[in-house]
Amino acid sequence: MKHWPWSRIVLHAVALLLLLWVVLPIYLIALAAFSPRDVVYQYPKPLVPTQFSLETMLFFMRSSGVLDSVRRSVIVALLTLVVSMAVGAPAGYALARYIFPGRDTFRIAIVSTRAFPIVILSIPLAVSFINLGLYDSTISVALMHTALALPFTILVTSSVFASVPVDLEEAAMTLGCSRLGAFWRISLPLTLPGLAAAAIFTFVLSWNEVFAAAILTLRNRTLPAHVLSVLNESPLPFRFAGGFFLLVPALIFMLFIRRYLFNLWGRVVR
């Protein structure tokens, strides 16, 4: 066996520690979510699966308000996805393709909207939404989530479009395409996986967002807002199952779009 230098051993140890820090809670939540009721209440809890059961998950799904809020969450997330892609993708394309005055400032400004904590933004936003009559509705939450998701949508799509050489669009234009036609026939097919990743990312962002959703709604709550509001008075199985249910889409999609996130960060640093 090769002899490893100390620095490498330390590096791997730290990496392992970080990995455990992220993976362990997820593992424990998943474990409890698929254990029968009595196992969930056991103490100390077993660290390895003893019994597989859907009982806990079904209990969560059948709780009052859960299915409604899931449906609402999906609608909000889809609305967010559609609106933010419709607005964000063209902006991302412009950032990737054109050099215009204030381009770098614009890039920074996009990120800076996320510099303000949502807690600070929420009061004036809530007031605005109430003035507009857009409160306690799926639309209001979707609009709020769009505002939150846009910076990411724009930056991710811009890095996706930047990965297609301008030459390809120009070649298409010399071969009979209009500018739009070149985009449609060349850039769009080539960027579709990346754009899909950006869309999914937006979806997950909205799916997981709890603060704005909790502030803007009272009766028509999305799933995270609903879980949050009933958390204190709900039994342990409900909490585990809810946690797991909220976690899954994010996990799956993060795995899928990892490549594009790295790309995005590489570009911002440059």
Partner: protein, 368 residues
């Protein structure tokens, strides 16, 4: 009929003037090279012709039609890019068919033209492959096939060979030259490689700093450079330049008088003058030669068919070609004699060629 006429075209990017008042006419079916060092504006000029770049001022005509404000697809051009720009999500067949499908040609016609273009570029067996499965040279062939398949009257090429390795480049150079003679299209070809320009073009437009310095046949650009820069840029080795002094109708190169043909004499004014001479037009003698310029051998490079000798005349370096069997060693004293009618004369300050009637010089032959 597709003559390209460029009339007083300007193009700037911010404060950088990329194309400066260029006027140029490319004849129908002519093969014109835009040659120059990087950043000279040759690619920008080509992109202005293609319509990928809008000109700031001036007019562009293709086949007598004013295309200045038309998008690329309405200009009747095809273009080959330096990066090849082969569409990665399409097979070779679909790549070549792309322009034909845009023209909405009938299917059998597309099929036939794709096969013809592929046959011309020897890539028939690659039609089902994707670009990722091709080598650089093969992609290059696809890019050319895609451009010739649309049978436009004007073909624009932006450094198409610069990404190929040396051997492949030589092969493609010959092949492209044969292809263009066969196709009878007007070709504008951008390159920074003077060998490519010399060997392929009907005429060469030499550019520097956004301007065309000279537009002439390769032989004339080589023999009669309009500018010191062109003499130094074209030809390997580059033209030798030496400062000379004109006094009392005599021309002294580092103190040695050189022969001046009669038609030149009237163009010279007292003061400094720049003398340009190609390596093959200098006679080198290892024996003392009265009236020749004394020099010292620095380096001898045997090139097989001949030797390339670098000699120093005072502080100036001079490249001379000598017969392969002439034995010289470094530091040896030699004497140089310029072939009088092959000497080119330039303004010492601006570097522009003096308005000498070289035809009269050559007609007069050796005039003592």
């Amino acid at each position: 009929m597709a003559e390209i006429r460029i009339d007083h075209v300007w193009k700037t990017f911010g404060k950088v003037v990329a194309v400066k008042d260029v006027t140029l006419t490319v004849e129908d079916r002519e093969f014109v090279i835009l040659l120059g060092p990087s950043g000279c504006g040759k690619t920008t000029l080509l992109r202005c012709i293609s319509g990928l770049e809008q000109v700031d001022r001036g007019t562009i005509f293709i086949g007598g039609r004013n295309v200045t404000n038309l998008p690329p697809r309405r200009r009747g051009i095809a273009m080959v890019f330096q990066s090849y720009a082969v569409f990665p999500h399409m097979t070779v067949f679909d790549n070549i068919a792309f322009g034909l499908r845009m023209k909405k040609l009938p299917k059998p016609e597309i099929e036939r033209r794709v096969r013809d273009a592929a046959a011309l570029m020897h890539i028939e067996e690659l039609l089902d492959r994707y670009p990722a499965q091709l080598s650089g040279g093969q992609r290059q062939r696809v890019a050319v096939a895609r451009a010739i398949a649309v049978q436009s009257e004007v073909l624009l090429m932006d450094e198409p060979l610069s990404n190929l390795d040396a051997l492949l480049r030589l092969e493609m150079r010959a092949e492209l030259k044969r292809l263009f003679t066969e196709l009878e299209t007007t070709v504008v070809y951008v390159t920074h490689d003077q060998v490519e320009a010399m060997s392929m073009g009907d005429r060469i437009a030499v550019m520097r700093d956004g301007e065309i310095l000279q537009f002439d046949t390769p032989v004339r650009v080589y023999d009669y450079p309009a500018d010191r820069f062109i003499g130094g840029f074209i030809g390997n080795p580059p033209m030798n330049f030496l400062m000379a002094e004109v006094t009392d109708g005599r021309v002294l190169v580092h103190g040695t008088a050189v022969e001046v043909p009669a038609p030149v004499r009237s163009r010279l004014q007292a003061g400094p003058v720049l003398v340009g001479i190609r390596a093959e037009n200098i006679e080198l003698s290892p024996e003392q030669d009265e009236g020749a310029i004394p020099a010292r051998v620095l380096v001898v490079e045997p090139l097989g068919s001949h030797n390339l000798v670098t000699a120093s005349v005072e502080a100036d370096m001079v490249k001379v070609t000598t017969p392969a069997d002439m034995r010289l060693r470094p530091d040896q004293a030699v004497w140089l004699r310029f072939v009088p009618e092959k000497v080119r004369w330039f303004d010492a300050e601006s570097g522009r060629a003096l308005p000498v009637d070289y035809e009269a010089v050559e007609a007069a032959g050796h005039v003592g």
